[in-house]
Amino acid sequence: MSKNLTPVTPRGAPLVRGNKSHKNTYAPRKKSFWKRLMNQKALLLMSLPFVIWLIVFRYIPVLGWIMAFQDYKPQNGFLGNEWVGLKHFRDLFNEPIFYRALENTIGMGLLGLVFGTISAILFALMLNEMRFIRFKKITQTISYLPHFVSWVIVANIVTTMLSLEGPINDLLTSLGIFDGPLNFMAQPNLFWGIVTSAEVWKSTGWNAIIYFAAMAGIDPQLYEAAKVDGASRVRQMWHITLPSIRAVIIVLLILSIGNLINIGFEKQMLLGNNIVTDKAIVIDLYALNYGIGMFRYSFGTAIGIFKSVVSVILILIANGFAKRIGEGRVF
């Protein structure tokens, strides 16, 4: 299954090049390019429409990046706009809201990365140590469930749980921690924490799968040897299980660091409101509100380009760091 990792690997028949000159110097079935194509009309029919789809829906939007260097107005079409150089980027860097959005994005991104990774590893470790096989299976099954429901539903759940008469306020009041119910959703300082908790709740079980799978591949003899040496279960987890999945952890960390700025806007848009907006505005939401909401298309595109550039830089830094500490790097 792992033979053909990347579909770009050249394999089998050579492409167009050298077709005229070779004169049977190649292996037998060398028909001319056109002859082979004529025999593959069905294949062409089954792929060409989708390749055209890829060009239209995936490549043309990238060409749209030129808008960031123009004053794009819909009525002018794509080509008839005035070139303005880096004006939109300068505007962007002069907007205080942009820095707030950047701070919120990185802040919530980091919190999600740290707590998401820790909770997933911890959960996988615990699950791996479980002895009661039946209960272990049931727990794992239940733990995936929140991953498959939409953020709209999760946002609903979160606001219900945290509402004034909701269970969390109920619990904290009856334990005497709060004097009266607290309106969680209206506390700007709690917003990052709420988003992070929601994310941990939604994705811990799912993210743990990959660590759990890595743990299943550890040689049982290591544990046997440790047992003979008298290592406790906790020490085995620390000295065998965790080091064995180190490479997986690092690869996943590198990938998520690249995505630190691509945290999206769903959570913030669905959980946020006017009171907490200072803590809730993130880059994508900013691009959505300004770029589409206020018809500043060029400005919005500039935000998108900024995001892509930062994301590439982040992944290069993370990759270089992993190379330095001598661990599995991504490329």
Partner: protein
């Protein structure tokens, strides 16, 4: 390995895991209880995992009283069915041609596909493209932009790579053309991966609310359950987003918006629970396959 004694450590783990299960399931049960409870009674608070005054009223509001929610439910189902079928047809066809090493455009098309995993135009250019293509407020906006996904195609293609050549070769000698081979041999042999990808496509379609928000807000007929839920959520929160419809329209009758909101949440969750056992069986394979890829 010999059977070991249950130690204190095991008990601690067990308690922790029970905690995880409770924290995961409690919110769903709580919402189920509210949705099945009398709306006026709910406002007293203190509901946990079973309803105090049982009623179906909140659900009959959705399926009886409110045309809009019923139509949103229908649209959610429709987009999920159509989107999944078209998506899986497109992905398998492209994947098949790319698994054929003798296909003259194999390398070129593979390259075009793989590049899309690394580049993205971003929100605004995609929005403008959809508008230029005239897809705004059009049902096709749920289908066309989501037709293909490079990752899915690659997962299917690696599965097809493992189908023995002998099968397809012999069919070819019997005079079958490439399309017949695809339809009669490759598809039936690829059912496990097709099941996995279909389920993922279906969940993605069912859960999507953002494309309705961005592209289809202007056409009430295209509203989906997730989008209706998002609007109610938006209104119950303190925000004054740009969506103007108040919750008043839902209040007609004896239920309150919160109870309706919970009932919609349950209706939107149940289909996920229904495909869940199937998902469960397949997705681990799909995921490990993906892990090998990256």
């Amino acid at each position: 390995m010999k059977k070991q004694k249950v130690t204190a450590f095991d008990i601690v783990l067990l308690v922790f895991m029970v905690g995880v299960v409770v924290v995961t399931l409690y919110p769903f049960l709580n919402i189920l209880a509210i949705s099945l409870n009398d709306a006026t009674d709910t406002t007293r608070g203190g509901l946990h995992i079973y309803p105090r005054e049982f009623t179906w009223a909140n659900y009959s509001q959705i399926f009886g009283g409110n045309d809009r929610l019923l139509s949103a439910f229908g649209m959610s189902v429709l987009r999920t069915v159509v989107g999944t079928i078209t998506g899986i047809l497109a992905s398998t066809m492209l994947a098949y041609t790319l698994s054929r090493r003798d296909f003259v455009f194999n390398n070129l098309f593979s390259f075009i596909l793989v590049i899309t995993m690394f580049i993205s135009g971003g929100l605004i250019p995609e929005f403008l493209l959809i508008r230029e293509l005239g897809l705004m407020n059009n049902f096709l906006v749920y289908i066309l932009p989501l037709l293909l996904n490079a990752f899915n195609v690659i997962v299917i293609r690696s599965f097809m790579d493992n189908i023995p050549m002998a099968l397809t070769e012999s069919a070819k000698i019997d005079g079958a053309n490439d399309f017949t081979i695809f339809w009669k041999i490759v598809i039936p042999l690829s059912l496990p991966v097709i099941a996995t990808v279909s389920l993922f496509l279906a969940v993605g379609q069912w859960n999507n609310w953002f494309d309705t928000y961005l592209y289809a807000r202007g056409n009430a007929n295209l509203s989906t359950l997730q989008f209706e839920l998002m609007k109610i959520l938006d209104n119950t929160q303190l925000s004054s987003g740009d969506i103007t419809s108040g919750n008043a329209e839902y209040v007609a009758g004896q239920t309150n918006p919160q109870s309706i909101q919970m009932a919609i949440t349950i209706i939107a969750t149940v289909p996920i629970l229904m495909v869940y056992p199937f998902l469960q069986r397949y997705f681990v394979t799909g995921l490990t396959l993906g892990a090998v890829k990256s």
